[in-house]
C-alpha cells in the first residue's frame, strides 16, 4: 500500500527531473557543448547521491510548514504538485517543484484546517527572493574571476573549449548533487512521516527508511531526466539568453552553489561556529537560481541579451505554480476524502462529510504541530534492520559479471560486424568486378564477331578477285593459243571464219556468268533477312524475280541490272512490269520504294 501511495511522490520526482535538471545541464546541452545522453547519465548518478547523502535538511523545513501526517494526504499533495509542474513543463515554462509542493502543502493545511507555520513559510518565500539574488551575485563574482584568469593565462581558444567541456561536466555533476540534496525534500518530504521503520545494512553503509525514500525519489528524478528533460534543456540553453561556453559554466556553477549553500548542514554549522547566523536549509527554487545567475551576467554585460518576455513568462510561472498547486491540492483532497473516503489527515476536516465529526477542537496549535513534526523523525521507534551485506556483495558481483559479459558480447558483436562489413565489401567488390568483366567480355565478343564478319567478307572478296584473275588468265592463255594457231597457218589459208571464232571466244568469255553467279550469291548472303521478308510478304515470287528485287533494293538502274543479269534492258523492264503485277503495286506507287520498305 505504501508503495502505491508513494507513486505520486515518484511522479513528482519525475516532473522535477524533467524540469529542473535542465537548470544544471541545460546551458551545456543547449549550447551543444555536451551531448544530452552524457549529461543525463552524470545528472542521474549525482542527483541520487545528493538525495541520499545530503537530502535531510530541506525536508525538516517542509515538515515545519505543514506536516502531512496521513499517507493518503501525502499522496494527494504530491500528486497535485506533480500535476501542476507537469502542466507548466508542458507549457515549456521553467517552473519550480519547490513552489508547487509548498502550494500543495498550504492547500492541505487549508483543507485539514491545520495552521500554516508562518515562520517556515516566510523562510521559504525569503529563499524565493534570496535564491536568484544570490545566484546573480555568485554569477557576477565568478564571471569576473574567470575573465581575470583568462586575461592573465591567455589560454588558446581550442584548449579553453576542452577545459570548458570538462568543467561543465564537473560543475554539472556538482549541480546535480546539490539539486538532489536540496530538492529531494520537494519530492518525498511529505512522505517522511509515513516512511517505514526499516534499515538496510549493506555492511559498509546502512540506509534507513528515510534514506530509502530519498533513494526512490532520486531514482524517479533520474527517470524524469532521461525521459523528458531534453526539451526543457533546449529552452534554457537557447531561448532565455544566448549563452557562450564560459557564461554557461558560470551560470551552472552559480546555481549549483546556491543550491549547495541552502542544503549543506556542514556549511551551516561552520557559519554558526565562526559566529555567523545559521544558513536556513530550505528547498530552493533551482529555476530561480539559474535565472538569477543569467540575469546577473546579463546585467554585467549591459543587459542587451536578456529576453524580457521569457523572464516575464517565468515570473508568471512562479506566481501561478503555487496558486495552481494549492487549489489543485485542495480540490484533490476534497475529492479523495469524499469519494474514496481516503484518510488525508489524522485530524478531522470540516470539508469531509461522514463519520468524521467536524469540531473546532480539530484545529491544533502550532506548538502541538511542532511536537508532532518532531515525532515524524522517530528516534526511539523500533527499527527493523535487514542485513544485506552478503546479498549486496553478491548482487554487485553479479552486476559486474553481467557488465563484463555484456562488454565481451558487445566487443564480439562489433568484431563480427566489422568482419561482416569487410566480407560484404569484398562481395560487393567482387560483384562489381564480375559485372565489369562481363561487360568487357560482351564488348570484346561483339567486336570479335564484327571483325570475323569483316574478315569473312574480305576473304570472299579476295576469293572472287582471285577467281576472276584465274579466269582472266585462262581466257588470255586461250586467246594466246588461238592467236598462235592462227599465226602458224599460212596467210592464204586464213579465213574470216577463224577471226569469227576468236570473236566468239572473246564474247563467250566476256560473259560474266561466273562473276554473276558469285555476285548473286554474295547479294543473297547480304540480303538474307530481306529474302526471308520477301518470301513472307510475297510467297509466289520466282528466284529471278527475287533476284530482281534484291538488285532494285540496291538502287541499280535497269541498264545496270541488265548488265549484271546478262539480259537486255528491255527484258528488265518487262520483268519489272510483271513483278509489279505480282506484288499488286498501284500505278502511283514506286516499285523500288516498296521493295526498300521491306
Amino acid at each position: 500500500m505504501f508503495l502505491f501511495f508513494i507513486s505520486s511522490g515518484l511522479f513528482l520526482g519525475w516532473t522535477l527531473g524533467a524540469n529542473d535538471a535542465s537548470n544544471v545541464f541545460g546551458s551545456a546541452v543547449g549550447s551543444k557543448l555536451i551531448r544530452f545522453r552524457q549529461a543525463a547519465i552524470i545528472a542521474s548518478i549525482f542527483v541520487v547521491l545528493g538525495a541520499v547523502l545530503q537530502g535531510a535538511g530541506g525536508s525538516h523545513t517542509l515538515g515545519k510548514l505543514g506536516s502531512v501526517d496521513a499517507l493518503g494526504g501525502a499522496f494527494t499533495v504530491a500528486l497535485a504538485a506533480g500535476m501542476s509542474v507537469l502542466w507548466m513543463t508542458k507549457s515549456k515554462l521553467p517552473v519550480s517543484t519547490s513552489q508547487a509542493i509548498v502550494g500543495a502543502i498550504i492547500g492541505w493545511n487549508f483543507f485539514t484546517g491545520n495552521p500554516t507555520d508562518i515562520n517556515s513559510l516566510t523562510t521559504i518565500v525569503a529563499t524565493w527572493i534570496s535564491g536568484p539574488i544570490l545566484g546573480g551575485f555568485f554569477a557576477v563574482l565568478l564571471f569576473l574571476l574567470l575573465q581575470f584568469i583568462l586575461r592573465k593565462r591567455k589560454i588558446h581558444l581550442i584548449k579553453l573549449d576542452a577545459y570548458i567541456k570538462y568543467a561543465l561536466l564537473i560543475v554539472g555533476a556538482f549541480g546535480s548533487y546539490s539539486l538532489g540534496a536540496n530538492n529531494i525534500a520537494n519530492v518525498v518530504g511529505v512522505f517522511i512521516p509515513s516512511a517505514p521503520n526499516i534499515a538496510l545494512d549493506f555492511g559498509f553503509f546502512t540506509l534507513n527508511g528515510t534514506q530509502l525514500l530519498f533513494l526512490g525519489g532520486g531514482l524517479s528524478i533520474a527517470v524524469g531526466i532521461f525521459t523528458y528533460s531534453k526539451k526543457v534543456m533546449m529552452t534554457v540553453g537557447s531561448s532565455l539568453m544566448k549563452l557562450n561556453a564560459e557564461t554557461a559554466i558560470i551560470v551552472v556553477l552559480a546555481h549549483s552553489l546556491v543550491l549547495f549553500v541552502f542544503s549543506s548542514q556542514s556549511l551551516s554549522d561552520l557559519f554558526v561556529r565562526i559566529g555567523l547566523p545559521a544558513i536556513p536549509l530550505v528547498p530552493v527554487s533551482s529555476s530561480q537560481a539559474i535565472v538569477g545567475a543569467i540575469i546577473g551576467i546579463g546585467i554585467l554585460k549591459g543587459g542587451r541579451n536578456i529576453q524580457i518576455n521569457v523572464i516575464g513568462k517565468i515570473a508568471v510561472g512562479w506566481f501561478l505554480t503555487p496558486v495552481i498547486a494549492g487549489l489543485l491540492a485542495f480540490f484533490a483532497l476534497f475529492f479523495m476524502s469524499n469519494v474514496f473516503n481516503l484518510k488525508v489527515s489524522s485530524n478531522p476536516s470540516k470539508y469531509v462529510k461522514g463519520d468524521i465529526v467536524v469540531t473546532d477542537d480539530a484545529k491544533v496549535s502550532i506548538d502541538d504541530k511542532t511536537k508532532t513534526i518532531e515525532n515524524f523523525y522517530p528516534t526511539d521507534k523500533e527499527v527493523t534492520t535487514f542485513k544485506l551485506y552478503k546479498p549486496a556483495v553478491i548482487i554487485v558481483m553479479i552486476i559486474l559479471l553481467l557488465v563484463i559479459i555484456y562488454q565481451l558480447y558487445v566487443i564480439n558483436k562489433l568484431k563480427e560486424k566489422d568482419k561482416l562489413e569487410e566480407y560484404q565489401e569484398s562481395i560487393d567488390r567482387y560483384d562489381t568486378q564480375q559485372i565489369l568483366l562481363a561487360k568487357e567480355l560482351k564488348t570484346t565478343n561483339d567486336a570479335n564477331l564484327k571483325l570475323e564478319k569483316e574478315i569473312d567478307a574480305k576473304e570472299k572478296e579476295q576469293k572472287k578477285i582471285a577467281l576472276s584473275i584465274i579466269r582472266k588468265n585462262e581466257i588470255l592463255s586461250k586467246l594466246k593459243t588461238e592467236i598462235e594457231n592462227l599465226k602458224s597457218k599460212p596467210e592464204e589459208t586464213l579465213k574470216f571464219a577463224d577471226l569469227n571464232t576468236l570473236k566468239l571466244l572473246i564474247i563467250e568469255n566476256l560473259s560474266v556468268e561466273n562473276e554473276r553467279k558469285s555476285f548473286n550469291k554474295y547479294i543473297r548472303n547480304l540480303n538474307d533477312s530481306f529474302y526471308k521478308n520477301l518470301e513472307i510478304e510475297y510467297p509466289g515470287l520466282s528466284e529471278n524475280e527475287k533476284k530482281l528485287c534484291s538488285l532494285l533494293r540496291l538502287k541499280l538502274t535497269s541498264k545496270e541490272i541488265a548488265s549484271i543479269l546478262n539480259i537486255t534492258p528491255k527484258s528488265v523492264e518487262v520483268s519489272r512490269y510483271r513483278l509489279r503485277k505480282k506484288m499488286n503495286i498501284k500505278k502511283n506507287e514506286k516499285l523500288s520504294k516498296m521493295i526498300r520498305k521491306l
Partner: protein, 216 residues
C-alpha cells in the same frame, strides 16, 4: 572525451603551423615580386616555387584542422566562423601564388621610372598581410588584442588603395612612350598586388565580427 585535451593541443599546434606557413608565404611573396622588379629572375623563380610549396602545405594543414573540428565537435558554436576565418587567411597565400604566377607567365615590362612605386605598393600590401596574420593568431589567445592589429590592417589597406590609384594614373598620364597594351598590362599588375591587401581587409572585418560574437 578523454582525448579531448590531446586533440585540442594538436589542433592549436596545427593552427599555429598554418599561420607560420602563411607568414612565410607572405615573406616569399614580397621577395619574389621585389626580385622580379629588380630583374633577378632566377631568384624570382625560386620564390615562386617556395610560395607554391607553402600554399600546398597550408592547404593540407587547413583540411586537417577542418577534419578535427568536425570529428571532435570542437567549439560547436563557433566552428564554422573559425573555419571560415582560416579559409580567408589561406586566401592570402593563394592570392600571392596567383600574383607571382602571373608575373612569371606574363612577364610585364616595367619601366625604371615606375619600379620604385611598385616596390612601395608591394611593401604596403605586405604590411597589411603582416598585421592581419598576427591578428588572426592572437584572436585564439587574446581576442581583446585583435582590435589594435585590425586598425593597422585597415590603415595599410587604405594606403595601398591610394598608391595603386596613383600608379595607374601615372602609367596612363605620364608614360607616353609605353604602348596602350603595356599600360593596361601594368595597370593589371598594380591591381593584382592590391588584391592581396583587399583579402587582408576582408579578414580584418571577419575578425572584428568574430571577436564580438565570441565575447557575447
Amino acid at each position: 572525451m578523454i582525448n579531448i585535451f590531446k586533440t585540442s593541443k594538436t589542433v592549436s599546434l596545427s593552427i599555429d603551423q598554418f599561420f607560420d606557413k602563411i607568414d612565410l608565404g607572405t615573406l616569399n611573396f614580397k621577395k619574389g615580386v621585389q626580385n622580379y622588379i629588380d630583374g633577378n629572375l632566377d631568384e624570382f623563380a625560386q620564390n615562386l616555387k617556395s610560395v607554391s610549396i607553402l600554399e600546398n602545405e597550408a592547404d593540407t594543414i587547413q583540411r586537417k584542422i577542418e577534419n578535427d573540428f568536425y570529428l571532435h565537435s570542437l567549439m560547436p558554436n563557433y566552428a564554422s566562423d573559425i573555419l571560415n576565418l582560416l579559409e580567408s587567411v589561406d586566401h592570402i597565400i593563394d592570392r600571392s601564388t596567383d600574383v607571382l604566377s602571373q608575373f612569371d607567365v606574363e612577364r610585364p615590362h616595367m619601366p625604371e621610372a615606375i619600379k620604385k612605386d611598385y616596390t612601395e605598393l608591394l611593401n604596403l600590401t605586405v604590411r597589411s598581410a603582416e598585421n592581419v596574420v598576427p591578428a588572426a593568431r592572437i584572436f585564439f589567445t587574446s581576442p581583446d588584442a585583435v582590435k589594435d592589429r585590425i586598425q593597422k590592417v585597415l590603415f595599410y589597406h587604405r594606403e595601398t588603395a591610394v598608391l595603386s590609384n596613383n600608379i595607374k594614373r601615372k602609367i596612363f598620364q605620364e608614360f607616353d612612350s609605353l604602348k596602350l597594351s603595356e599600360k593596361i598590362h601594368l595597370r593589371y599588375f598594380a591591381l593584382h598586388i592590391e588584391q592581396v591587401s583587399d583579402t587582408c581587409k576582408n579578414i580584418a572585418h571577419q575578425l572584428s565580427s568574430l571577436v564580438i560574437k565570441i565575447k557575447m
